[in-house]
């Protein structure tokens, strides 16, 4: 009689690789072979992951086509099992996996659209956190303003993409052929800040100086250093981050 841990390891080998039939020895067959019975579980495990990916990557699904998506997702799931029961965390490596495929179904920007959708998903599911109210900063003496270090909201991410994946995803998901036709895929890289604020999910394009300023600001760099190296519009950028709810707290660097 196998110990429970040994049995579970053996079962997991079947679920992951489906080649090892060791677990089959321990299963009653009556009417169905052990492999037939085991495959019911493996199929559910696999299809749940595929559907979880489809929920996270709806624009990739539309662009690549459902059949291509299913095949790619199956292959991904086979090599990347889930690490927790919280499936919103599943699928972080899917963009890189798509980028590594020989054929992304003839869609060169597929991996970038996946990167964009993953960032949206992370922002949508990030933990709740309070939005820093500008009035909280009134308690900071002016001579300490330079030492202010902000804490970005848990939903904030920064993303640099070679293709305009934000515009592509919007167009494909709204089913707007005219908008899709207007996309210029050679328009150069886009830099995005994505977050979930009081007004919902937002992906905003930023120019390079603003992108650098905002990412460093949300990353906790002291305001004094940022203002020295940043453009003249630093005060306006800071005000905008507060207004959009991209900051959740601050500390004074010692």
């Amino acid at each position: 009689m196998p110990a429970l841990l040994e049995l579970q390891r053996s079962f997991s080998v079947f679920l992951l690789a489906s080649k090892d039939q060791e677990i089959g020895r321990h299963i009653q067959e009556d009417g169905f072979s052990a492999a037939e019975r085991l495959r019911i579980y493996r199929n559910t495990c696999r299809s749940t992951l595929v559907e979880a990916l489809r929920m996270t990557y709806p624009a990739v699904d539309r662009l690549a086509g459902s059949d291509f998506f299913s095949a790619a997702a199956e292959q991904f799931a086979e090599h990347h099992p889930a690490r927790s029961a919280y499936l919103n965390e599943y699928g972080s490596g899917f963009a890189d996996f798509l980028a590594g495929l020989d054929s992304a179904n003839g869609v060169p920007y597929l991996a970038d659209v996946a990167r964009f959708e993953w960032t949206l998903s992370v922002a949508a599911n990030a933990e709740d956190a309070p939005v820093l109210e500008p009035s909280a900063l009134l308690s900071v003496p002016p001579e300490e303003n330079g030492a202010l270090c902000f804490l970005g909201h848990p939903s904030v991410s920064f993303l640099e993409l070679a293709y305009p994946a934000d515009q592509i995803a919007d167009a494909v998901l709204s089913g707007n052929d005219a908008a899709m036709a207007e996309v210029d895929i050679s328009s150069g890289p886009v830099r995005l800040v994505v977050h979930r604020g009081p007004a919902g999910l937002e992906a905003e394009r930023l120019g390079l100086p603003a992108y650098r300023f905002v990412s460093r600001l949300c990353g906790g760099e002291a305001l004094g250093l940022l203002i020295e190296s940043a453009a003249d519009d630093a005060p306006a950028l800071l005000a905008e981050q507060l207004a959009k709810g991209r900051l959740t707290g601050f500390r004074i660097a010692k």
Partner: protein, 291 residues
């Protein structure tokens, strides 16, 4: 002291028919305020922040809510995932559910998680593993949980304890309640050839804290063989309604849930199913009072 099955403080679940709440119906519930006695949600769907949790925060003010887990892996020989437990406790503290439940199953080993309720051999070792994991969970959450019997498609050669006896023994050892899924009993009884009524007769009525009802499908093979698959994708079938009536005779008035997870229909279909369950409960009550 672990509270008893019935009469949980704060948002307690009434002994009436409720509905499994899925994302598709969040908005309809808030806008239409349907007449539903209570809702149950899958805990893991609310482990993050943002919109789903905000909806649930609001819904729980209008309806009692139960948290039903599918990924804690109470049957894992290597113990429980502390991060999962911590997330569950945080959600529980925020939602203050009337009931918290999980399955007699495993879904994790060596850091890999499987998105299904995997079957356990029913042995003395498994009794002690599941018993310990339930005790750890109840201590960590500071409350009783309910344990649900799963549907199964295989049995192990070395299983030595009938499932009904296993469920009763676990409840006795740990003080957990039993979530009796009547559809799962029916599916497993058909797949493995045991008597579903004998299963229900063998469960200890005093430990039954909740009943689940759902639809399942028949998967047929080319050679004429078939197996029942619990997919929560259709109406409750007639045989399961009959078994449910039998269960209410045995267990009396118990919170009863309609579950529907694949091809989720309009909310009105779910309220129709819940009304059907409620009618069976009401008939049982009239019958019991007349007797």
């Amino acid at each position: 002291m672990i509270p008893s099955v019935h009469g949980q403080a704060g948002g307690s679940i009434p002994a009436q028919a409720g509905i499994g709440l899925r994302f598709q119906h969040h908005r309809a519930v808030l806008e239409e305020k349907p007449r539903v006695a209570w809702f149950e949600v899958h805990s893991e769907n609310y482990f993050g922040g943002g919109t789903p949790l905000r909806y649930l925060d609001t819904i729980r003010h209008d309806y009692p809510v139960s948290l039903h887990g599918v990924g804690l892996s109470l049957g894992s020989a290597e113990g429980l995932d502390e991060r999962h437990l911590a997330r569950l406790r945080r959600l529980m503290e925020r939602i203050e559910p009337g009931l918290v439940s999980e399955h007699l199953a495993w879904n994790a080993v060596d850091g890999t998680h499987f998105a299904d309720l995997l079957p356990l051999p029913l042995t003395e070792e498994t009794l002690s593993v599941v018993g310990r994991n339930i005790e750890v969970t109840q201590d960590f959450l500071g409350r009783q949980i309910l344990l649900e019997n799963p549907s199964s498609y295989l049995r192990y050669r070395h299983s030595s304890i009938p499932e009904w006896q296993f469920m009763a023994e676990i409840a006795e050892r740990t003080g957990c309640g039993i979530l009796c899924d009547v559809n799962n009993i029916f599916v497993s009884a058909c797949n493995h050839g045991f008597d579903a009524r004998h299963y229900l007769r063998s469960l200890p009525a005093e430990h039954i804290g909740e009943i689940h009802l759902a639809g399942h499908r028949m998967r047929s093979f080319d050679d004429g063989r078939s197996i029942r698959i619990d997919d929560h994708g259709s109406r409750v079938c007639d045989e399961v309604w009959q078994l449910y009536a039998f269960a209410t005779e045995r267990f009396g008035q118990v919170p009863t849930l309609i579950e529907w997870d694949t091809d989720v229909p309009a909310l009105s279909v779910l309220t129709e199913e819940a009304a059907k369950a409620q009618a069976i409960m009401d008939a049982q009550l009239r019958h019991a009072r007349a007797a």
